[in-house]
Symmetry: C2
Subunit: 347 residues, 2 copies
């Protein structure tokens, strides 16, 4: 099944409105989900719709709420998402950080009381599009269902705690990092299990803390391992400290809002002007030069080329904007069924 981005956006927005969202929120979430599908990050796209509708029905997600600013200074603010779709609060928070950074040079905005904020890369891409560097850390997912082991440990107490960094460029693609601090994202373990496949070595551990490639072990008391050993573990803890502890998100937990995963989460965002110390053109041309320098490196055995983080997403976006977004049949079936149950015509 192929849908154009416009078709998928309209469908998503209609479905969300039928599920109780107001127009403004429905439009924003459709933008975020279809944007993730467009750049190939399908794990953060319309695949989530059934879960969001379920969260609305369970009172975990308030589909007509809107974020509020809890406190602010010239270079910082804390935003409460109001338990609406996390994509709404996270965009408001990053926009606020960008506005403040335009004046102060740098700003920090934190977000609490947010449901799933989706693809972190979207927010640092937004920063980059305004000629700002953007940094995002998210934590607090593990309060009820920890899934990630600390380095050297045998019991999950942490989570996939992601981080993202985005850098504007000139003629080249903005560099965008956006990754889980676990070796794998949660979806990949579920997929491998359902497809009867093994996982790459070093990504999950069994309940003894011993690395394994068998996804079944994950569900028998095992867990994710941090990427990159003790270094990735350190970054996982940093995302927990910045996302949950520093933002004070625990104080804003209000079950059932946020559900089992998002009830305690928080996000810290930093934005600063790329032209803080030199004209933007100079910053941009040096960034382009660095990107060109690494792409010019001949590939190692087993690789086709050297990429800059964000290249794959940019390429996929170009292709899917032209050729449409492929939706697996089983997912389209579930989405169509959901739409029908809500009285939305499936286009």
């Amino acid at each position: 099944m192929i849908r154009t981005a416009d078709q998928l956006h309209t469908f998503t927005a209609q479905l969300l409105q039928a599920a109780g969202a107001d127009q403004r929120n429905a439009q924003r979430v459709a933008q975020a989900l279809v944007g993730a599908n467009l750049c190939g990050v399908d794990t953060h796209g319309v695949w989530h719709l059934p879960g969001y509708v379920q969260a609305i029905r369970a009172g975990e997600l308030l589909p007509t709420a809107w974020p509020t600013i809890l406190e602010e200074g010239p270079a910082y603010a804390r935003v409460a998402g109001g338990w609406t779709f996390g994509h709404v609060g996270a965009e408001v928070a990053m926009e606020l950080a960008l506005d403040k950074a335009a004046t102060s040079g740098i700003a920090l905005v934190s977000l609490v009381q947010a449901h799933h904020i989706g693809r972190l890369g979207e927010y640092v891409e937004l920063a980059a599009s305004r000629n700002m560097v953007g940094l995002v850390w998210a934590g607090g997912f593990a309060e009820e269902q920890p899934v990630a082991m600390p380095y050297g440990g045998r019991r999950p107490v942490l989570h996939t705690n992601p981080l993202a960094m985005g850098f504007p460029a000139g003629a080249e693609t903005p560099m965008v990092l956006d990754f889980a601090t676990t070796a794998l994202s949660g979806v990949k373990v579920v997929e491998a299990r359902s497809q009867g496949k093994q996982l790459p070595p070093g990504c999950i551990a069994d309940r003894e803390g011993k690395p394994t490639t068998d996804p079944e072990e994950f569900f028998k008391g095992g867990g994710h391992l941090p990427f990159g050993g003790h270094k990735g573990y350190g970054l996982m803890l940093a995302a927990e400290l910045l996302g949950r502890v520093f933002t004070g998100s625990d104080t804003f937990a209000e079950r059932p809002h946020g559900g089992p995963i998002f009830g305690h989460t928080g996000t810290a965002m930093i934005a600063f002007r790329a032209d803080l110390f030199q004209p933007l053109t100079e910053y941009a041309s040096r960034t382009d030069e660095l990107e060109q320098r690494v792409r010019a490196v001949p590939p190692a055995l087993g690789f086709a080329e050297v990429l800059v983080p964000g290249d794959l997403e940019a390429r996929t976006r170009e292709v899917r904007q032209r050729e449409g977004i492929p939706i697996p049949d089983d997912l389209w079936g579930r989405l169509s069924e959901l739409a029908s149950s809500l009285g939305v015509e499936v286009g």
Copy 2:
């Protein structure tokens, strides 16, 4: 050979003054080097003295210079290190960031024209000691002698580009991350070669970009690999973008200052108040709780315990403050010889 921290500090400061440093700079560098030895990071300690003296003699390091502030706003500044010891400029830069963050909530200070700044962890520990979160990225080491391959590439174009993050705590040890974005530090490859040892798998590659454990391959056109695959590679590029490109350090290159490694380097530092969104006691007790939670995890097979980043350094510091700092005989021989050649009495 065992020396107390005080003995080693006096020796180091005297040696540096004899080599041309003024008292203020000599004291600061002694503090930095002995501080690194105290916490067990011997690769960033007095081992560097012969190299610094050589750099002074070569006109790469100006031992009586002092940093200047090139530009500043309430929440940002750029500092020129004046090509003196990097430890001097980096401390001034972090102190400035902490002062500004105390008022603005968050601040960003960059440093250019600095020789080796030493252990990054020291600067984020300084931030943590003032109840600030500190972030540091350094780049620009590869302009003349690149040693690190990009992910999927077969030619070195980058470097060990380190990053550090420090978080104040309450009763617990502040969490301090401080690591190279290569899998290994440069010193470890040199050591393995001279001792005829193999390296752990996945840390370096030969000139075809194929991972190898043979340190000889590193010196035959091979290079470091990023830690943690494409994620660590992304962080290596981020440190290059923040440390060199964003700070504009290339513009300040003035050979022979900085020598082949430090001539183009720059450092970006961000500091923000840990109590920006809640009373410090609340932030601190939640941080303590997180540290306790991970330390309470039973160890995996092959591990003795679960640690928080910074624990090992804190423990070593305690031991070495009590029992003194062990200096390998060959190193002590070289240092004694250097001291004698400078007319410094070896205590």
